[in-house]
């Protein structure tokens, strides 16, 4: 049975992909390399990981509002996340998801999701569905 996590719809659209999950807040400006999509924020638990093609799950954003533009640029260059799942949406990430047109849901307990899980994000309904847990596919 897939696990359904209810949240709040922020930005519409449906997509599925592998989850990339962090416990740390993320600043897109200075925290993600705009050329490669690699997370470069110091002491971040995803440091070195690439956000491209992943469903990026993290508590919330922090830092400069220029971060919204970085998210747009990553997506436009094809190295951005497919969708975003937050615990508590903040203005920088929300504006980034809006201008980049990336599905986004918040109000989700992201500790239920593990990196590598195959998940579906439904930005219209505000839902995250865990379709396949990492352990069962390895």
């Amino acid at each position: 049975m897939p696990i359904v996590l209810k949240g709040r719809p922020i930005m519409g659209g449906r997509t599925r992909g592998r989850a990339l999950v962090s416990k740390d807040p993320l600043s897109f400006l200075g925290g993600v390399d705009p050329e490669t999509g690699r997370i470069i924020e110091k002491n971040h638990d995803l440091n070195g990981e690439k956000v491209g093609g992943a469903i990026l799950c993290f508590p919330h954003g922090h830092g400069s509002t220029v971060g919204s533009y970085v998210l747009y640029s990553l997506v436009r260059r094809g190295i951005g996340p497919k969708a975003i799942v937050n615990e508590k949406a903040d203005p920088v990430v929300v504006v980034g998801a809006v201008i980049a047109d990336v599905p986004m849901v918040d109000g989700v307990d992201i500790s239920k999701i593990r990196t590598g899980d195959l998940i579906e994000v439904n930005g219209d309904e505000g839902m995250v569905i865990i379709l396949e847990e990492r352990s069962s596919c390895t």
Binding site: I10, M11, P34, S64, T65, V66, S68, Y69, V70, Y72, S73, L74, R76, A89, P91, V92, V94, V95, V98, I99
Partner: protein, 391 residues
């Protein structure tokens, strides 16, 4: 959030992609902060102008907006850029950087945003009291709310731009009178003398209060310049968007939580804004951009003296104030100082022009420069800054 039929039309894309995306930003932020509706704004001030701070990523989005015909609906101004094109000898000289900075200014200019690049647009055009604005740039926001008594949330670059394109902003935060009430009393024990001491106080208080709304008691020297430095420092280390310089203000209750600041707190805050005691290779006045009064103050202190050969003295202001204070600009430049406009030390490339130690009377600059410009800082009063800069 309630939307009128016209607003719905824009949201559905009937006015094109640029306005749709702008409306979407406002609607999503409005929902996030539980705004009830959009309200008209008198003006917008846009941050995210210097190529140094916004980089290539932003150009992609701004260019797409411009290409789809975005034009602002209200009077709009923008923050300083990374280059003063009238003083190329003082600036970084990398053609690619100069070209990209120029492109950013043009994109904004083509949207109808005035190409007066300053963080003090209020010296050029003062908004009326009790009018709603959508201003970005934290020092500008705190000045508008606290000194001009106009009303603006602490916008970011994208949300201020969206508000400029729509001519409206979501009604939440300090747009509502009940969210403008002082909720903490800051008792200042030492008698503050300089603008730098007001800045140090602001840096200390901002860190403690985060987004609370302070009113102050004990400020005896509340001229406009000192309040500007107090507010901009508070907004740098904290999330303040409004403060009251005295206790005659609307409060959340009769008895407020009290925070006391004693002589030692102030001294520690002041000292912690310096990272070195080495001699500076640049002395910088003008964060936030100088008023005509501040330019005059510098001129009167420096008249008849000579700036040391091994030190650059930068005074940054808006083009408008530079023109207005032309006589004093002449005095400063005769002494060997430079009065720059359209830029400031924090948003330009300092390391690249050979600066390692920056001395300033601005607590905001002293707070940001070590990370944003990778320079050491010496924080001091205007008097000491001019002393250090001169032979």
């Amino acid at each position: 959030m309630y939307l009128s039929r016209e607003e719905e039309r824009v949201l559905n894309g009937e006015e094109g992609w640029a306005y749709q995306v702008a409306m979407r930003i406002l609607v999503k932020l409005g929902d996030l902060f539980e705004a009830d509706k959009l309200i008209p704004i008198e003006s917008a001030h846009i941050s995210g102008v210097s190529y140094k701070t916004i980089g290539d990523a932003s150009i992609d989005f701004l260019e797409a907006l411009g290409d789809s015909g975005a034009k602002v609906k209200v009077r709009s101004t923008m923050n300083p850029a990374g280059i003063d094109y009238n003083h190329p000898e003082e600036m970084i000289r990398v053609p690619e950087v100069m070209e990209k900075q120029d492109r950013i200014i043009n994109i904004y200019g083509n949207m109808g945003i005035e190409t007066v690049l300053t963080c003090t647009p209020y010296y050029i055009n003062k908004p009326k009291e009790n009018t709603h604005l959508a201003w970005a740039e934290s020092s500008t926001v705190v000045y508008a709310n606290s000194i001009l008594h106009s009303w603006t949330n602490r916008e970011g670059g994208p949300s201020a731009l969206a508000a400029a394109l729509i001519g409206k902003t979501p009604n939440y935060g300090v747009h509502k009178p009940e969210n403008r009430l002082a909720n903490v009393l800051v008792k200042v024990e030492p008698r503050l003398k300089s603008e730098a001491e007001h800045g140090a106080l602001g840096a200390h208080v901002g860190k403690l209060l985060k987004d609370e709304i302070p009113c102050f008691s004990g400020l005896t020297h509340t001229r406009e310049t000192e309040l500007k430095h107090l507010g901009s420092a508070m907004a740098s280390t904290g999330m303040t968007s409004i403060f009251y310089p005295d206790t005659s203000c609307p409060r959340i209750s009769g008895e407020l939580e009290v925070v006391s600041v004693d002589v030692n707190d102030l001294k520690n805050a002041f000292d912690s804004l310096s990272t070195t005691n080495e001699s500076p290779d640049m002395v910088y006045i003008g964060c936030p951009h100088c008023s005509a009064e501040e330019v005059k103050r510098v001129a009167l202190k420096i008249e008849g003296r000579r700036v040391r050969r091994d030190v650059k003295l930068w005074i940054c202001t808006s083009r408008y104030v530079r023109k207005k204070a032309e006589r004093y600009v002449g005095i400063i430049e005769a002494a060997g100082g430079k009065v720059l406009s359209d830029t400031c030390a924090v948003v330009t490339w300092l390391k690249e022009i050979g600066i390692d130690v920056l001395m300033t009377n601005s607590a905001k600059t002293a707070y940001y420069a070590p990370t944003m410009n990778r320079v050491e800082t010496v924080f001091s009063s205007l008097d000491r800054c001019i002393e250090e800069a001169c032979e």
